[in-house]
Amino acid sequence: MNNDKPLGQALREQGVSRRGFLKFCAATASMMALPPSMVPAIAKALESARRPSVIWLSFQECTGCTESLTRSHAPTLEGLIFDNISLDYHHTLQAASGEAAEAAREAAMEENKGKYLLVVDGSIPLGNPGYSTIAGISNLEMLKEVAEHAAAIIAVGTCAAYGGLPHAKPNPTGAVSVTDIIKDKPIVNVPGCPPIPVVITGVLAHFLTFGKLPELDHLARPLAFYGNNIHDRCYRRPFYDKGLFANTFDDEGAKKGWCLFKLGCKGPVTYNACATTKWNDGTSFPIEAGHGCLGCSEPNFWDMGGFYNALSESTMDLGRTAAVGIAAGAVAGAASGLLNRRKKSQAVAAHETVTVNDLQREEKS
């Protein structure tokens, strides 16, 4: 892969006019959540930027993050991947397979030693190495090998950033995040299940533009996208301030578009760009579609309590409660457990919400 030509020259040779380039830069600034006044600076930086080699490793994941990226629209994925980065290894997207694919990875590592960007999606199992392998190489071994000479690492998706769903209790594979293993490289977390596509490409574009990773928060997430919580940027926020809530998904409040806090919305504790960037070409986001935020860009979101429990109800280690609940269920004939499960089913049938207190009672019984 030839990475020698500056991007500006490569685009001009492809017949892209200066106007087209400026348009590209305006879209890139918007994508990176930078003010439009930064466009000339971005244009200047991109003009001389050289394409970085990217190695993408997929471990314990569902391919949702790659699906998200391949639907990225700004700029087009084709433009991003083929014009701006040199994607030298991605075992889902690349044509090569088996030994040829691994040879491509090794060649990219050798040719771009110390300069390539490593993108990881999926968590890494520390239990039996056989839980997840690529070409017979364990995820842990491959991560360490590729990370050693990477310039920086981007952990894409909640699984790579925090362990994600594989890490959910009882974590059968011993899943951990990239930062749990690699300690000596700059790492940026791009969490979300999946992350917003433009956030993934925005981080790549930032690296391309500035030659470094963007400014990060305490969880190593780019501040440009994770600097505000969903709640503060939500168009339903005025209803929260006025105390107007939907109590069920089909009541008058729901129909009027009132705040979904009582229905378990995790917007107040979730930092992401969904409320402004939105999904599907800027069409909508979960709250706009009438469902609360699940908090998928936060650590352990799966174990943060019920998706439909209000945040004000979460006052204990709900993961532990759930695990005990499962254990209780395994003891066949435990009358109290059966009683509580029946009560839970009845509550669901009657559209009643199951609260943390209900779960606490179940744990004690």
Binding site: R18, T76, Y235, G257
Partner: protein, 134 residues
């Protein structure tokens, strides 16, 4: 669909982020600044939370003015002057006709409409070659 199609009415109902009036004030301030100091302003519409229908409401209020232009570079772009002189709506699409960016520019003329030096230099060389062939 025309981005400023006033025939399309959207029922906003109880959904309001309340961001349309402040945005209009921001545009008013920017227009004042353009007149007084010659400074241009660009507002990225993707940076603001908008309830369903509110962006349409904003565009309806801005209306359509005397000038509209289309650009064909890395996909289509629409550059439309609103009914308020100096306030422009710019929408960039990619080659799949998906929106890449949506901006309001407060300027005498959006910079992207001006012929660019690099393009003019290349055009000059091309024209020169063409003349030598004749």
């Amino acid at each position: 669909m025309n981005p400023i199609d006033s025939s399309l009415k959207v029922e906003i109902g109880g959904y309001h982020s309340g961001n349309v009036p402040p945005l209009l004030h921001e545009i008013r301030h920017a227009l004042r600044n353009l007149l007084d100091n010659g400074e241009t302003t660009t507002i990225d519409l993707r940076g603001l939370p908008m309830a369903p229908g509110e962006q349409q409401q904003l565009l309806e209020i801005l209306g359509k003015g005397e000038v509209s232009a289309h650009l064909d570079a890395l996909g289509r772009s629409e550059i439309i002057e609103s009914s308020y002189a100096g306030v422009w709506l710019i929408i960039h699409y990619n080659s799949n006709n998906e929106v890449m960016g949506k901006f309001i520019e407060i300027t005498r003329m959006p910079a992207i409409l001006e012929a660019q030096t690099a393009d003019m230099e290349e055009s000059l060389a091309t024209l020169q070659m063409r003349l030598e062939e004749i």
